[in-house]
């Protein structure tokens, strides 16, 4: 594994550089030609596809349906909601010319689609019978980023954005909360093996146009925070701006209550930053495009490698055979480590005659064990399940151990040098947020003492999670 370490910066020395190196060497993505854009390479995209499938299934289970709204939004739409346009204006990409002519009204490339979808919700909703209206779309979006970083903050990103309309504030809140927990947290924890802290954003960290932003925050390998998904209560702000109204069962005209919620290709960045180690990526089996690689050490082992692969495929395992026996074994092994494939099976001529194979579990310190050929499939299938759980346990342990309970903003600033801080929000307040901000630290989210989410900005007795973030 020495060879691997040499191609990547060490995490402890320069984590952001390590992150860049892993993305390049594991062939996950690279920079696009227009500043801040990203090319997602096949291996990175395959992870995204598996993640997307898991997310899409859970979104549909909440009753939402997929649709597709245009990329190009008339500039005037954004201007209808004051906070929204103020928040997004600096990040817009604008189409001024098309078809060889200047456009009468410039069109912006969607930074998010509240305004576009608001316009259509207003048309489609007539009566209380049409509510709730639960829409989702899988799409690209563009926000001109000042400090782009692959997967985490790219000028163009891929995401799902959900947009719903409800007959009451309570119904809107209940649905957005369900998305936060049953969709986002479920995918993060059960699929990506990433523990997350749920909470409410403070006023200053809120989505532009929302009355409440709920977030899920993950801890990266270097102890920073990464926001992985948000669900917003939009109150009646967009309903008012786009006239999303309905006739109640009593025959009165009422304004709807809307929500929006999004999760992006940043989730792949989260997976890298939470699970990766100095040898490279470590992919949770649930989203691993290759769960098992069978490595034929020499030509004589190629046929056996394929037989093993077929057995595993029959058990529903995603498996690939590395039969490039003409290339150095060590380099191939290191490459699969870099790519974070959970289980590597090595088969050489000697193994064959001894009726065994070597199993290397990437998610468990790459410990090697010799397994009888007859037990191989069962052992590997069990390892896949166990190691998915192991990754989550490991990340949870780190998260718990690196959150320091402190009492003051000064202590929080000190603690945030190496992890997160947790302290009473009453000891922070808006003034404390200013001071944290001067040190590049933010309040990631607020929770009630029992871990549940506050429903008001100024509930007393809240706990603040404070950290540096990506």
């Amino acid at each position: 594994m020495t060879a691997t370490r040499s191609v990547l910066a060490a995490q402890a020395t320069d984590f952001p550089r390590w992150f860049q190196d892993v993305i390049a060497k594991a062939e996950l993505a690279e920079n696009g030609p227009v500043r801040g854009t990203m090319v997602v390479r096949p291996y990175g995209y395959a992870i995204w596809e598996l993640l997307q499938e898991a997310m899409n299934r859970r979104i549909k289970a909440t009753g939402a349906v997929n649709a597709y709204f245009p990329l190009l939004i008339p500039e005037s739409y954004l201007q209808r909601e004051a906070e929204h346009v103020e928040g997004f204006s600096p990040e817009l990409a604008v189409v001024t010319h098309a078809g060889g002519k200047q456009l009468e009204e410039p069109a912006v490339i969607r930074p998010t689609s509240e305004t576009m979808i608001g316009e259509y919700m207003a048309k489609w909703i007539q009566s209380y019978r049409d509510l709730p209206l639960l829409l989702n779309q899988w799409a690209n979006a563009v926000r001109w980023e000042l400090r782009p970083r692959l997967f985490l903050r790219t000028t163009e990103f891929l995401w799902q954005e959900g947009h719903t309309a409800h007959a009451s504030a309570a119904d809107a809140r209940a649905y957005a909360t369900r998305i936060l927990y049953d969709v986002y947290r479920a995918v993060m924890v059960d699929v990506l093996a990433i523990p997350v802290v749920p909470g409410r954003k403070t006023r200053r960290e809120r989505f532009a146009g929302a009355v409440n932003t709920m977030t899920l925050e993950a801890m990266t390998g270097d102890g920073k925070a990464l926001q992985l998904g948000t669900a917003h209560e939009l109150g009646q702000n967009f309903a008012r701006a786009f006239d999303i109204g309905y006739l109640s069962s009593e025959g009165r005209r009422e304004l709807a209550w809307t929500t929006s919620w999004g999760s992006t290709t940043r989730l792949v960045g989260g997976l890298i930053m939470v699970h990766g180690d100095d040898a490279g990526l470590r992919v949770p089996p649930a989203v691993a495009p290759v769960q098992v690689v069978v490595l034929a050490v020499k030509d004589e082992a190629i046929a056996a490698a394929h037989t093993i692969a077929d057995e595993l495929t029959a058990q529903g395992v995603r498996v690939t055979v590395d039969d490039r026996a003409d290339q150095p074994f060590g380099r191939r092994a290191v490459n699969w480590e870099l790519k974070g494939v959970p289980v590597r099976i090595e088969v050489g001529p000697r193994d064959l005659s001894a009726g065994v194979a070597t199993v290397v579990r990437r998610l468990r310190d790459s410990a090697k064990t010799t397994v009888n050929r007859t037990d191989l499939a069962a052992t590997v299938v069990a390892a896949i399940d166990a190691d998915q759980a192991h990754l989550l346990a490991e990340a949870t342990e780190r998260q718990v151990s690196r959150i320091a309970d402190v009492a003051t903003v000064e202590e929080a600033i000190e603690a945030a040098a190496s992890g997160w801080a947790r302290l009473p929000y009453d000891a922070v307040g808006e003034e404390g947020e200013d001071r944290l901000g001067e040190s590049g630290i933010t309040v990631r989210c607020l929770q009630r003492p029992d871990g549940s989410l506050p429903v008001e900005d100024n509930e007393p007795g809240l706990t603040a999670y404070v950290a540096r973030s990506y």
Copy 2:
């Protein structure tokens, strides 16, 4: 069904208007706010999702892998291939401002990604071992259309675009041909129940930058042609422009041969135009979001409707229950007809006591039959399979019967008033294409006498298919 007919223009009277009406009334899509853009509504998108799944599976079976390339292409990229930029320039949407500033180099929104992907192929391909490189992406694209029409020609459309590089012209051709037949034609015929005529485009109808465009042409309900998918041999044009080279096994530096191929949301338009009738849409079961609707005529039948639906769901049928017993039965039935749901099961109180249900097969003249409750599930499952095949047979029959064999351009022009014409291309030629063009008619494609595809532009003895088109 009289009620339905009144909400749609009659096909025989005004087919394009009927098309628009169906899209609106079946809630498939509507116009976006920026001219030519499209909102794909949930019902239309659900059809697209099923189609996409079928297409994606077959694309992957050819060995291609999915990736994602940026939406924004530097303007200079397009200029590197002379024919390509000439062909696409008039249709480009250009981003001149972003992040509050004018861009140093304007970026175009991808009209197609040969140039973007060519740039990365050049980086990723080193030796013959890296070939073939088989990439695909699911994405949106923008081409500023002069005469937009929902699904058929929208300013923004959804599609998959495949881009591959090969070590030889023969390999490139073989792969593009495989995509044409094993992916595109397979999906059109086996999934969408749309018979298609494969052929080679004439020089003037070719993709900008290609040396050969292969196409699949469908016949619409009004006897016109609709190009549903194309695969292009790009020769070494883009390899030269982007320096996509490789070291051969003999150690020589060679230029690669590339292909590209695309299919779009137009396929949904094709489905509507090929199968729809005066009562509305008719959706092939393979892509029907709802294959069976169980309609409870009265409140007393709601429980039974759900039981029937559960039985069908258990058999893998996509089924929905219409339990809006408080709304007029006739209006509900007409609505499901409009949406083209293949099978409708009607259950009323009298049916219940007689132990029967009424089955209406939308894809077979909506004939009603009374079926014993015990035979219901088996009957419906059999009907779904049979009616998928029936749709294809019906469309094939129409296509065959409306292609007229003629001998001259004049006869072709006459025949194209009500269908397609087929004649020797030697009797047309480039001069004949001009004359056809004056009447708004084009050569859709060329075939050899045995139905196979010509590999040269000027092969003698070719058959031309000639028609008006959408």
